[in-house]
Symmetry: C2
């Protein structure tokens, strides 16, 4: 079974939602048969790399919240994160483009290190003081900690086209699947979970997707050559 | 879209079938959206690592063919392989356990090098003189050529438990899906193609699976917290 998770590093509910999903997955009896893939979704896809702002200013200017509303929202996030055992800095975080991080997550996918990297990126962005924005060496450090090669990571960061198509393809696919916000979880391309739902909802989705794995429909014109425990056969049609 | 291919390195129709599938995939307009995963299937799962025999003897002793039948079968395979542009040695190949190769293919999957490795293993087994059986250093060479780290490959070869569960899990899944021979192709867990079918059948399967991608069914109790282009929302239920 495969679970695809569309998310953005700058999306706090993705950080919280991932922990809720993982709680459900850990208790799922068939967890060994579940493969998790992370897909790209930028909340602010046109954003320039150099455009970095304090989160509070972004919330008040872009989304028109009052400063008190914005801070109350951050405090609520801090509480929800803590309930999942996650650290969350409710003040003085930065906000910027996540495009490069998504490109690195595609490099990490190729190397089997995607979950390690996204976990480190979330933690760095939401729980650590040093910003992940406008600081390539910070990203190199995190990617190396996730098991990637520093030289290759620097190459990817230096070339804005590297894995750019893969990021765009994920984002197109999210739109095709009807996702207009994140986190968005898709199980075996059959069931979806939208938002940071409680762990029980993820449990229900895992159970339902597992129970409804449908039989495979065979497409063939005739029996074809194949090998089995009793040898290789060339069928006579 | 995802295509899973169950196969064995010792299965000549898997070698030929993979080439036929790839011909169809190359001409498929949505090929960029197709991800290929190789799954393990040992034709002879209990076979001891040291039990290596000439293919001809295996065909005559285990499957009760006459020597002439066995050689005619190999000649037919040579012709079919050549039609797909593949080299195939119709005489003097060896046969043995493929368990270690499957374990290495799981290591390669983690590193994003699975297709490279299976291609090299097939070629080595079917087209090259030096045997892939009973020769760990040969496997190290091929795995390094596929982009894996020699030290890690030696570690995996030296530890028969490494990735053994992953091989068994693939084999259990094949049985659950009803595959009793290989190659066995599964598209999006909805459509199957059994055997080395002609490229046209793979084209039909790809088109059918693409056309029938079903809409996602949402599983949730209420709207949950999520972030979109217009900010992060905490729904009031």
């Amino acid at each position: 079974m495969r679970v695809e998770i569309w998310s953005d590093i700058a999306c706090p509910w993705c950080y919280v939602g991932k922990a809720r999903f993982e709680k459900a997955l850990e208790a799922f009896p068939h967890r060994e048969a579940v493969e998790v893939v992370h897909r790209s979704f930028e909340l602010d896809p046109g954003r320039a790399k150099g455009d970095i702002q304090p989160v509070l200013r972004m919330l008040t200017k872009k989304y028109g919240m009052s400063e008190a509303q914005a801070q109350a929202g951050e405090d609520n996030l801090g509480t929800q994160a803590a309930a999942e055992g996650l650290e969350y800095r409710t003040r003085d975080r930065d906000h910027g483009s996540t495009f490069d991080m998504h490109r690195l997550l595609h490099l990490a996918k190729e190397r089997g290190r995607q979950d390690e990297l996204i976990q480190l990126l979330y933690r760095a962005n939401f729980a650590e003081e040093r910003s992940v924005f406008g600081d390539d060496e910070r990203l190199v450090e995190l990617a190396v900690a996730a098991g990637l090669d520093a030289g290759r990571v620097r190459e990817v960061l230096a070339d804005p086209d590297a894995y750019a198509d893969e990021v765009r393809a994920d984002e197109r696919e999210a739109a095709e699947l009807g996702a207009n916000g994140v986190p968005f979880f898709v199980l075996d391309r059959a069931y979806g979970v939208s938002g940071a739902q409680p762990a029980e909802v993820f449990t229900r989705a895992l159970e339902q997707a597992w129970g409804n794995r449908s039989p495979i429909e065979l497409i063939q014109q005739d029996d074809a050559e194949a090998c089995g425990p009793d040898g290789c056969a060339v069928p006579r049609n």
